[in-house]
Amino acid sequence: MKKVFLLTLIPALGSLFVINRVEPYVLGLPFVLFWAICWVGLTSLFLIIANKLDPANKEEEEL
């Protein structure tokens, strides 16, 4: 449970961390926007992994 919690904490903190600069442009986007979009994808990735590892899913099936 601890491990799963830490996994979800990473996107919670990361998505709130702003890097406030225009350059370098990545994929044509200003860096500040690119960085934020990256975290949308990463949030998804971390939550999907967390769900795979989450012991709560097993426990519920047994109920």
Partner: protein
């Protein structure tokens, strides 16, 4: 009648037809009507909850906000914090709801705290907060349809037709109607927004980077967070406040209750962020309009998307955009109607008349749908600016319901009924007072550094709320009872 109007009408009829189809083979009792019989699997749930996130805001607000103030509102538009909250908060709420046959957000408070009075308070706060939300959707609908029909339909006419359509299918199919229409709406929005998000930058600027470079030269500082005002501090606090308040809305929790299992909610939390990517395209549309259609001031900024569309496409395609936008307003409105009708009938009327049968309750809820729709119509036509004020207040209002819900999921709930009451009432009064007098953290403490001055007021009041809730609970502790174990937020707390 022009091509755009025909396309919009076609989709409206399709929407009503699907909404009515949805009830086939279902015996419409209260549980079926209000939470879809709690039988929605991951896919249908995904469309229902995602449909709720993609409202007129995705369509007009995100592009208009970006047009108006650039990066700060652009980043605020995709809130990843929502999903982390959803991952932990929703499964235990759902489990408790399933076990105790909870049908509405107020039910949850009523049963957790064993206090019908608290349920009534929550229901009243929610109805006050949700009506402006409905009105904003309806106003958005009016703008979208009148723009897309090249002015041949007035905003008010569009609102009336839209309200009649949703009233019909919500009354008949309840939650089932909303879920099925949500699917077509999402496909249509996806196609339209992604297309325009690519088309405008390439057509008018020769690419995405050239577009941003042009904006950076024309308006220096527009692609960064400013030192004060919409600063990073504002972004962080507003993001947290919105994420905490988001799931407190009665129609959102009702959406959550439609889930088949707690696992489908966790899967959903993981997949939903990918859906947020659509908003990126809406932002690109907003950015592309900055240089192409300059000088849209105030609320006119919300027309940025349609101004761009009309100068670039044939009327029939503007009609498709209009249809997508109209559905973006209609689906959330139908969820709001279902949830509000459930609240009023089950959590206010039934508390007053406890021996109402399930059958009577369904009938009453269905009768309330057109009544609430009429109230929405009235404020759309007569509300003026007061509606906007109320709308700004609605998130700050809803987030004040968070502490009582959150603490109730602990193994040992430290909050008593009195504590929950005191916290809600004090914080709601502060929010109402400060919204009416246009008070903010900055006007209260003008000499504080910007980091504190730019904090979101709703979040600041939430801190006061938590302090009052816990303080009063400590004093009234004696009567507090233990709650059962398997519906708590696991081993976390």
């Amino acid at each position: 009648m022009n091509a755009a109007l025909l396309v919009i009408l076609f989709f409206l009829v399709l929407c009503i037809w699907l909404g009515l189809q949805a009830r086939k083979g279902k015996d419409m009792n209260m549980e079926q009507w209000s939470v879809g019989g709690r039988g929605f699997g991951s896919i249908l749930l995904f469309f229902l909850l995602a449909g709720e996130m993609f409202t007129t805001y995705t369509f007009l607000g995100a592009s208009g906000g970006t047009y108006r103030s650039g990066i700060p509102t652009a980043l605020y538009a995709f809130n990843c914090f929502y999903f982390v909250i959803a991952y932990w908060l929703l499964p235990p709420v759902w489990k408790y709801a399933k076990k105790h046959n909870v049908l509405s957000q107020s039910d949850f408070y009523e049963k957790k705290y064993n206090s019908p009075a608290l349920g009534v308070l929550v229901a009243i706060i929610s109805v006050i907060a949700i009506i402006p939300y409905l009105v904003m959707q309806l106003k958005g609908l009016g703008i979208i349809v009148s723009q897309a029909s090249y002015g041949s339909i007035s905003p008010n006419m569009a609102i009336v037709v839209g309200v009649i359509a949703i009233t019909i299918y919500v009354t008949v199919s309840g939650m089932h109607g909303a879920a099925w229409t949500a699917i077509i709406k999402d496909i249509l929005i996806l196609a339209v927004v992604v297309f325009m998000g690519f088309y405008f930058p390439f057509h008018y600027y020769g690419g995405i980077q050239p577009m941003f470079e042009a904006i950076n030269t024309a308006k220096s500082g527009f692609l960064l967070f400013p030192e004060q005002g919409l600063s990073i501090s504002w972004f962080v606090s507003a993001t947290i406040m919105t994420a905490l308040g988001f799931y407190m809305f009665p129609h959102m929790l009702a959406g959550v209750f439609t889930a088949k299992s707690a696992k489908s909610l966790r899967v959903n939390a993981g997949v939903m962020p990918i859906y947020q990517i659509i908003i990126v395209f809406s932002l690109l549309i907003g950015f592309s309009a900055i240089i192409q259609v300059p000088n849209l001031n105030g609320t006119d900024a919300d027309l940025a998307l349609f101004k761009m569309a009309k100068m670039s496409f044939d009327p029939w395609f503007v009609g498709v955009i209009g249809a997508a936008g109209a559905m973006a307003a209609l689906i959330p409105s139908s969820l709001i109607l279902t949830a509000t009708a459930t609240l009023l009938s089950k959590n206010i009327y039934k508390v007053w008349k406890p021996n109402t049968t399930d059958q009577q309750l369904v009938k009453l809820s269905k009768m309330l749908v057109p009544v609430i729709a009429l109230v929405g119509l009235y404020f759309s036509f007569n509300g003026g600016n007061s509606v906007l004020t109320l709308y700004l207040m609605s998130y700050s209002f809803m987030v004040q319901l968070f502490p009582a819900l959150f603490f109730s999921l602990w193994k040992r709930n430290p909050v008593t009924v009195q504590g929950a009451f005191a916290g809600m009432i004090v914080s709601i009064m502060i929010v109402a007072y400060s919204t009416i007098t246009e008070m903010s953290v900055a006007t209260l403490f003008p000499s504080f550094p910007n980091v504190i001055k730019d904090l979101d007021l709703g979040l600041a009041v939430l801190m006061i709320n938590i302090a009052v809730t816990l303080g009063v609970s400590v004093v009234t502790k004696k009567s507090a009872a233990r709650v059962d174990d398997d519906t708590t937020i696991s081993n976390l707390v």
